[in-house]
Symmetry: D2
Subunit: 368 residues, 4 copies
C-alpha cells in the first residue's frame, strides 16, 4: 500500500504534522481523505488559519509518520512583519486554542504544570524553548514557600531549560525525568524549535500537540522521547518551525516550478518558449499537486527529476546537493527579531492560558 512506505526520511525533514499529512495526500492518486485522520480547518479570524488534525489510529499515524493524537496548527503569514498588534492577536488566539486543548484533555485549573524549554540557548534558531521560559510567570515556589500569599486564579507553574546533549553530556530526557520525579507536576509542556519543509512556514506557524516530543524530530539534537510513557504524566508539545533544510527548499521549488508552468500551459496553450516572467499570472497561494501538468508534460519539462516518486526525488536532491553544501539547515537572516517576537507570543499566550487571573490587558507585563 502506498501508505505503508517507510516515511522515516520525512520525519527528519518536517516536524509539522500538517506538512507530513499534505505530503502523503499529494502522493495519492485519488484525492480522498486518508482514513483514520480527521482534518478541520478554521479561518474565520482574518489573517489566522487554524488546522486541527486528529490522527486516530496507529495505522494512520504510520502513514504520515506521526504518532496518533491531536495536532493544532496556527498559521499567520503576517507574524513575520514584527507588528505588535498582530503578535498580540496571535497570543490571544494561542491562549484560546491551548485552553481548549487543556479542557479536552481534562486538565483542570488545579493541575500543576512544568514547562520545559528545549533547545540550545547559544544557537539563535534553536533557542525558542529557553526564550519562552525566560518570560513565563513561574509560581511553584510561591505555592511551596508562602501559599497564603498566592491569590486566587493562579496555577502552580514551574519551568526549566535543560540544555542540549552537546552542552550537558546528559540526554535531555534524563534531566527532565529527574525534575519530574522530584518536583511532581501533573502535566508537562515542552517547547521546542522545529524544522519545516517550507520557508514560508518559518516563524509564521505554531503547532500544539498532545503527543509529546519524539526521537529524530526537531533540529536533530534531542534524542529520547518526552511523552506520557517516559515521564508518567501527560506531555503537551508546542513548536514553531525556525529552520528548513536547504535541500527541501530546492525540492519544493522544483515542484512549484512544475506547477507554475503546468498552470501556465493549461491557461495559455502558448508555446513555452514564448513564456516570460511578465506573462506569469500573479498568484498568492502555493501551487498544489492538481495544478501540475499531466505526467507527459512533466517529463517534457523536467524529465527525470519530475517523474520520480516524491520520496526518491527528495533523496536524490539531497544526495546530489551534498557537495554544494546545500545539505545545511538554514534560517532567515532576521532570525534574532523573529525569535524575540514569537517567543513573546507564546509566553504571553501561555501565561494567560495557565493562569485564569492573568487577564488579557496585563499579560504583556510578564514578558520583556
Amino acid at each position: 500500500m502506498e501508505h505503508d512506505i517507510d516515511l522515516s526520511q520525512y520525519a527528519i525533514r518536517t516536524d509539522l504534522a500538517l506538512e507530513a499529512h499534505e505530503l502523503v495526500q499529494e502522493q495519492q492518486t485519488a484525492a480522498d481523505q486518508l482514513s483514520g485522520v480527521q482534518l478541520e480547518q478554521d479561518d474565520k479570524e482574518p489573517g489566522i488559519k487554524v488546522t486541527r488534525l486528529r490522527v486516530e489510529t496507529e495505522e494512520a499515524g504510520r502513514s504520515i509518520g506521526k504518532l496518533p493524537g491531536r495536532y493544532i496548527t496556527i498559521e499567520v503569514p503576517k507574524l513575520r512583519d514584527n507588528d505588535t498588534a498582530i503578535e498580540d492577536q496571535v497570543a490571544r488566539r494561542f491562549t484560546r486554542e491551548f485552553a481548549a486543548l487543556l479542557s479536552e484533555l481534562g486538565i483542570t485549573e488545579d493541575k500543576k504544570a512544568l514547562v520545559v524549554g528545549l533547545g540550545n540557548w547559544n544557537v539563535t534558531p534553536d533557542a525558542l524553548g529557553p526564550m519562552v521560559v525566560e518570560n513565563l510567570l513561574v509560581t511553584r515556589h510561591l505555592f511551596t514557600l508562602a501559599p497564603e500569599s498566592v491569590e486566587e486564579g493562579y496555577r502552580e507553574v514551574s519551568a526549566i531549560s535543560p540544555g542540549v546533549l552537546g552542552i550537558t553530556g546528559i540526554e535531555t530526557s534524563e534531566i527532565v525525568l529527574g525534575v519530574v520525579q522530584n518536583s511532581k507536576p501533573d502535566f508537562v509542556i515542552c517547547i521546542d524549535a522545529l524544522a519545516s519543509r517550507a520557508l514560508h512556514r518559518v516563524n509564521t506557524t505554531i503547532q500544539i500537540s498532545d503527543t509529546g516530543i519524539h526521537p529524530g524530530s526537531g533540529i536533530g539534537n534531542k534524542r529520547k522521547a518526552l511523552d506520557e510513557k517516559t515521564l508518567g504524566v501527560p506531555v503537551i508539545a508546542i513548536g514553531v518551525p525556525t529552520v528548513v533544510f536547504a535541500s527541501t527548499i530546492v525540492n519544493d521549488a522544483i515542484t512549484y516550478l512544475l506547477g507554475h508552468f503546468g498552470q501556465s500551459m493549461k491557461e495559455s496553450s502558448r508555446a513555452f518558449n514564448k513564456l516570460s516572467v511578465s506573462t506569469l499570472p500573479e498568484r498568492k497561494e502555493p501551487y498544489t499537486e492538481e495544478d501540475l501538468p499531466d505526467i507527459e508534460s512533466r517529463k517534457t519539462f523536467m524529465g527525470l527529476v519530475g517523474s520520480l516518486p516524491e520520496q526518491e526525488k527528495q533523496q536524490l536532491i539531497h544526495e546530489v546537493l551534498r557537495p554544494l553544501g546545500q545539505d545545511l539547515v538554514v534560517t532567515p537572516k532576521e532570525v534574532d527579531d523573529f525569535m524575540e517576537g514569537i517567543s513573546n507570543v507564546i509566553a504571553s499566550g501561555l501565561n494567560r492560558a495557565l493562569h485564569k487571573t492573568v487577564d488579557e490587558k496585563n499579560s504583556g507585563a510578564y514578558t520583556h
Copy 2:
C-alpha cells in the same frame, strides 16, 4: 556584446568578485579569459585556496559588475568545523595576504588606520563588522594622550561601528565621513558581512579588496559608497559571505542537477529512467558549465527553465518563488558559532597585520 549586458541584478545576488567573474565566464561560449581581468590561484597551503583577481579596466569591471581593483579571496572549506587550529592557520594567512596588499598599495607602518565595522549588531549574520571591532587592538588614544607610553612596533589604529540606517536614521557613509574628517586617518578598513551565491561559501570565504564598499552591495542596508572618492583616503574592504538568497540556492541547484545528470548521461549512456541515487558517482567538486549536457539534452531534461539564458532564468525563479517566501535571505542555523569564529580570525589577523609587534604567539590575547 555578451559582456555588455546589464548586470545590476547580479550585484544584489553576490558580493564576491570571484563569483561574479565565474558567472560571466560561464556565459561565454568560448572558454577564453575575459580581457582586462587577471586571475591568479594559489593553493600551495593545504586546505586554503587563495585567488587574486585583478580587474584592470573599466570595461572589464562593467562586464563582471565589479569596480576595477584588486580582489583577494581566501577560501577554506574547513573553517566551518569550528577548529581552533584551522582558525589560527587562516588568521596567519590572512595576515600575510593583508600585509602584502598594504605593501602593494604603498601603505607603510606609520600610516594611521581607521577600522569601520559595518552592519547591524542586532542581526547575527550582519554583525561581522561590529564583532571584529570589539576584538581589535585600538591605539589611537594612546598616541594622542600618552605618546611616550607607546612602544615601538604599534600603529595608530582607531575603530568605530557606525550602525545601520534603520537604527541611526543617518547614512553610514555620512557618519564615517564625519569621523574621517575629525580623526584624520591615512586609510580606512571597512569590514562587512556579504551575500554569496552559494551556501558552501558562507562562512568559509574571506574577500579583501582595495575598491571600498559600494551601493547595492552587501545585504542591502548600506547605501552610499565608502571609497577613496567619498572619504578622501584609500579604503580597503574586508568581507565574509554570511548569507545567501534562497532563490539563488534554487537556481544553483537546478544548474547543478543539470550538470549532474548530463555527466551521468555522458558516462553511462544508460536510460535516464534507470538512474538512481546509488548509481550516482561520488563527486567532491561542484559541477561547472562544461559538465552540462549539450543544449538538446538540457531541453529534454529541464525544458524551458534549462534553456533560458542565465539572467532570465534567475529572474524567473526569483519571481516565481516569491509567494513561497523563498525570496528570503537565509543563513546557516549555526550562524552564532560561525560569526564568533570568523570574527576572531579577522580580528587577530588584522591585529598582526597592523601592528608589527603583535607577534603570532600572543595575538589571541586581544580577542575573546
Copy 3:
C-alpha cells in the same frame, strides 16, 4: 569665601547638580539659600519628587561645581521595584518635564533631533545611552528617502551610540562633532550613565539639563565637552546615576551615623553607652546637617574624623581606603534588571516627547 573653595573633587564624586547643591548648602553655617541658584520642588504627584534647579550666574555655578543652566531632577524611590505600572507613570512624567524644557528652550516640533547614546555597551552600568538608543523611534531616513510617507506628527530624529575612547581610540566628542557636521540636526540630546554620591539614588533618579555634557563628569571615560559651544547646536543632557564610589558610601555613612547619634542624644539625653539598636527611633528621611550634634559632641563621638571639614574628610577617607580596594566604583547587584527598566522608561518617554503622534497608549510598542 566659603563658596570659593575648589570643588573639583566633588565633580568626580557626583554628576547630580542636586547633590552638589546639597553638599554646598550643608557647609554653610547659615541655612540661607545660595545666591544665584533657584530651587523649586514639586512633589504633588505621589511617589515622584521633581526638583528644578536653576543656576543663574557663573559665580553660583562655581560654588556648586556645575555650569549655569537648568537642572531638572526626577526622583522615584520605587523605580527599583521593577514594577511596570510605576515605570509607565515615570515615563509619562518624564515626557511632560522634557517637553516643557524643549518649550522653554524654544525648540519647536519641526526641529531635528540627534540623540547620542554615550557610554560603553560592554559595561552594564555604563550602557544606559546605547540601551536607550536601541529603543528609540528613529525617523530621519524616512524624511530623507521617502518624505511623502511620513505622517503628520513625527519629528525628524536620528541616533548614534559612538562608543567610548577605550573602544574607538577617538574622543567621543570628535565622533559626535563629525556626525553633527554631516547630518545637521537642530539640537542634540545626550544620554549618559552618571555617578551619584548616594546608593539610594542609583537607578531611582533621572536628571535632565540644558548644559550638555562636560569633562570629568560621568564615570570618567568621556573627556571632552559636548555642548552648544563645541557642537554649534543646543545640547540637552539626560542622565541616570547607575554607580557610586565606594568611598562616598563610607563618607556618607559616617556623616549619617553622626546625625543618628546626635539626634538620639538630643532626644533622650541618656548615656550613650546605654544606647542600643532597639532604642533607635525609626526614621525614613536621611539626616541632614541640622540633626547633627553640636561640634563638641561630634568630637566626643567621632573625634578627628568628625571634626574635619567635609572636603578634607572626604579626601582622607578616600586615601585611607585605597588599600582596601574601596576606591572602586560600585553598582547594585541587580544592575542588569535596573538598566533594562530605566532605559525603557527614558526611551518611551523620549519617543512621546519628540513625536506628537506617539500617544501614550502605544508608546511601549517601540521598546522591547
Copy 4:
C-alpha cells in the same frame, strides 16, 4: 564562651571561610589559634597566596559558622588587571590545588563528574556558575554514545546550569538531585558566586571546599544544601566572591579607620588634630585588630561605635543605614569583564584538572 555566640549574621555576610575565621580571631582577646582549626599559608608563588584552612571539629565549625572540612583559598590581587598571562598562571595553580584535593579525597581519574553551575544567568554578578559551565569540556555523551571514540586521558564529565528558584519555581537542590539520580555521577562539583566582606576580595579570590553548598550562603537565592548527605556523592564547591554588602563596606571602613589612626597615634604620639592625609604612612596590608589603639583611645575616636562589640556594631550599622539604601548588595562597575576573566580561569583550570589529556598548552582552546 566567646565562641558560642550566634554567628548566623556573619553567615549572610561572608561565604569565605577565611574571612569568617579572621572575624572570630579578631574577637579573641588572646591571639591564640582557634582549637580545631588548622591553618596553612603558602605564598611561595609570587603574586598568589594560598591558604588551606581545615575545620576539624563540629565545635570549631560552629565557632566560625562554617561546616567541618577543607577550605582552600587562592588570593590573587592582580586578577583584577585583566591580564591574560596572570589569568593563565592562576588557572594552572587552580588546576594543581584542585587536583591535590581530588587526590586527598580519593577521587581517582575514572570517577565520573557532574559540574553544577549555580546562579542566575540574567544577573551578571550571579552568573559565575553558568558561565563556567559554558566553557567546560563535557564528555559524558561521548562515553555513552560512542565509547570507542573517546581517547585515553579523558574523564566522563557532564554539566548543568539548573537556574535559580525565582526562574524555575523549583528548589535548585531538587533539580540537581533529579539529575544525579538519573545520570549517576561519582561526585559533584558546584560552582557559585559568593558574597565577601571586603571589596578587595571581589573577583580576586577563589575558594575550593569539600563541604558542598549550604543554606543561607551565597547571594541568598539558593536555599537547600547540596552536599554528600543530600546528593549521596561527594560534593566539592568552587566559589568566587563577586559581591559585597554595602553595610559591610561601611563597617570595615570604620574598623580600618580606627586601625589607621591608632597606628598613627602609636607611631607619632602627635596630637590628632594635627594629623593630615599627607602624614599618613603608606601601607599595603589591611590593618588588623592588633593595630587598633587601646580601648580608651578608641572611645576618644569613635565613641560609641568603636566601643561596641563587633557583632552589635555590625547590626547597628546595618539598621541605621537602611534608609540610605545602603543595605544593598553591590558589585564593582567592571563586573562584566571580571566575570568573563574569572570564569575562563576556572573553566580552563577545571578542564585540566578533570582530564589528564588536556595539557596546559591547549586548554584555552575549549574556552571562549
